[in-house]
């Protein structure tokens, strides 16, 4: 039990997918203007990441490795991830049109979210079991959602601030997330 918790903490905080591994920066910058849509994006990414982790693990262990097709891994993973994202898109469009509107182009772009592919590949690299890769995917998604939420909160506040014209918009957002990464360095070296 404590091992599960530690793995989750380590993937979510200590090795945060956005701030330490620098994966998935596109949606982090793109869908962090309001906390509500950030939360939706976090949920959608969590959904995709967990499903993709599982699907890619199965694909890799049951199909690619037995057939000796390891070199097709990236191609096959992208195919699987794209399908999962398509499915998620249909699902969100059906269940929550408002969220669908606010996620906009970023929802299909989860396909090219390097965090998803990155986590799937890292799972293979570290030779996790199915359960562990699910956990790893979930922990990463948790960290992604957390950072997205925190960052969206900060950006909502910055949107009300009198940022000089030269820094308004993306520049100040980049500076903010770099300072956030600085703060997350406090977790570094934790041997949990």
């Amino acid at each position: 039990m404590s091992e599960i918790l530690l793995l989750l903490l380590s993937t979510a905080l200590v090795n945060n997918v956005v701030l330490i591994k620098f994966l998935g920066l596109c949606p982090t910058m793109g869908v962090s203007k309001s906390v509500d849509s950030a939360f939706g994006m976090g949920l959608a990414t969590t959904f995709v990441l967990v499903l993709a982790s599982a699907a890619s693990w199965m694909l890799d262990n049951w199909l690619l490795q037995p057939l000796g097709l390891g070199y097709l891994r990236i191609l096959a993973f992208i195919l699987v991830i794209a399908s999962v994202v398509q499915f998620t898109e249909m699902f969100v469009k059906k269940t929550s049109p408002g969220l669908y509107q606010s996620l906009g182009i970023y929802l299909p772009l989860i396909t090219t979210n390097c965090a998803v592919l990155g986590v799937a590949l890292l799972n293979v690299q570290q030779q996790f079991s199915l359960f562990k890769s699910l956990l790893y995917g979930f922990g990463s998604a948790l960290g992604f959602t957390l950072v997205l939420l925190i960052f969206a909160g900060l950006r909502e506040r910055i949107a009300l601030a009198r940022v000089p014209a030269a820094f308004a918009g993306a520049p100040v957002a980049f500076i903010t997330i770099s300072l956030l990464a600085l703060a997350f360095m406090g977790f570094s070296g934790m041997n949990v």
């Binding site: 203007k33 849509s37 694909l59 199909l63 057939l67 097709l69 097709l72 191609l75 096959a76 195919l79 699987v80 399908s83 398509q86 499915f87 249909m90 699902f91 469009k93 059906k94 049109p97 408002g98 509107q101 606010s102």
Partner: protein
Amino acid sequence: MIAAILSMTVLGAALGVLLGVANKFLKVEGNPVVEELTAMMPGSNCGQCGFPGCSGAASAIVDGSAPVTCCPPGGKALATAIAARLGITVDLSAMADDGPKIAMVAEELCIGCCRCSKVCPTDAIIGAAKQIHNVFREACTGCSSCIEKCPTEALSMKPVPVTLQHWVMPRPATA
């Protein structure tokens, strides 16, 4: 090589079938947002936006070909309402909105030709033929459709006069 092609094909086909099935179950009919926006618009179909009527403008806004600020009679209030409904941010500073305006008739110029009252979408211009017309203030949307119809330029758009009841405390100067 063949194994690779085959496996990818099979994989692709399988996922495609799965998505196809999912699409059957999760299909969304029509776009309810357009109707919602149409209900928010002034509804006088004045045509100032350049679209065929208010529902045309609504669908143009929804599919992104028109800005939310495209409706002059709706003004800033409508633009913010639509933006809030669509969940987008809108830069209102670009929108010229110097308060509501209504049409007024210069009585000395009016010849009573009735051309203006024929185009008014809300029947706000009253007066029979050969008699001086007048604008019914409460009904005028400020769409200015009538302005160009007037042969004697007796019609003009004037800001609605401010009264004690309608006065708004000015915004503090920003520090």
